[in-house]
Symmetry: C2
């Protein structure tokens, strides 16, 4: 059985880890998950549709959204604003549907502050998988390269701290299966279900 | 990636909920999960094999296991002992393999005391699913029957409290899929993975 509210699922990870690829692959699967549409002030490119690729906004509209606390998170890159409209996310989860946000680490941090009940998934970069293999393995690399990798790994591990799950992106299909399993498992969590049952029993 | 230790998965729920059926169906699937074999002092029945269906023990052997704290839980029914040998469970998870225990609610409680890190799954009885349907639905039943069901539901909700997950057994195949998803998700939990990464980074 499903609990009444949908889940806010946040998929993040370091730049280049393949968030977009995994998210698109998930989108092509037959799931009930909705996808958050970002708002932006940049011009639509050929083939992009308002409400599907982005919500296209004027600078003034976007700044009003910021002002009125209507964005779950936002950032400015190269004179253009990008952000996650709160209304769409809330309407979706209120309807009992799950919604996924594919987002940079900094944005995910802001979402976590605003919405700590979300399911935060960290897509694990190959550097960490390599770290494991290298430790298990041979140790034929020079010290500089090892140190460099260890520093990157340390930063990535620090990022990981505030997430609920870590999904290795070894193969896109496997990563997608893991994310789907996490969503299923989250719907089975006792803490999400028991309050509802208690209410049903109390109500009588 | 998998963490080093396997998971102890405990599948329980009220009598008659279908624990055995679900566990057997899971066993027929192609998973890496091992199954705990109980010890008992009762006589083997035709077709039962030592080490597969049960570990068959004498009364004295069993009482020595109790004495030496070698059982994760045990109970006595009609002059025979039944219990879960600790060694087999620990050897399995130490090898990095998951192991599932299908067990009565009282036994699950004891396992929880001894092994709080286990993954505790409560198989939801139809009475609770019915409760939901009835609330949503029509209300054509008499008050006595409703009260009786509400009392059963209250007891079941109380049992549920100490579990991590609640899996509805609406269809065996669906219940099996949910359990498999829970196992996959548990292996992706940040808390299970991050310590290992931290150690790898510190070790250097």
């Amino acid at each position: 059985m499903k609990d009444d509210k949908g889940l806010l699922i946040v998929l993040s990870g370091p730049a280049g880890v393949g968030k977009g690829t995994v998210c698109n692959a998930l989108r092509n699967e037959d799931t009930d998950i909705e996808y958050s549409v970002s708002a932006t002030t940049r011009q639509p490119r050929a083939g992009e549709t308002h409400g599907i690729n982005y919500f296209f906004k004027t600078k003034q509209e976007f700044e009003e959204m910021i002002e009125n606390n209507k964005l779950l998170e936002w950032a400015k890159y190269v004179d253009n604003y990008y952000g996650t409209p709160l209304d769409y996310v809330e309407e979706t989860i209120d309807k009992g549907k799950d919604i996924i946000l594919e987002i940079e680490v900094q944005g995910a941090k802001k979402v976590k502050e605003r919405y700590p009940d979300g399911v935060f998934i960290f897509l694990m970069p190959p550097s960490l998988a390599e770290l494991r293999n290298r430790i298990v393995g041979r140790g034929t690399e020079n010290e500089d390269l090892i140190n460099k990798r260890m520093n990157v790994a340390r930063e990535e591990i620090d990022m990981m701290e505030s997430y609920d799950y870590v999904v290795e992106n070894d193969e896109v299909e496997k990563a997608v299966e893991r994310i789907k399993s996490i969503v299923t498992a989250e719907h089975c969590k006792k803490d999400r279900l028991i309050e509802k049952y208690k209410q049903l029993v109390e109500v009588e």
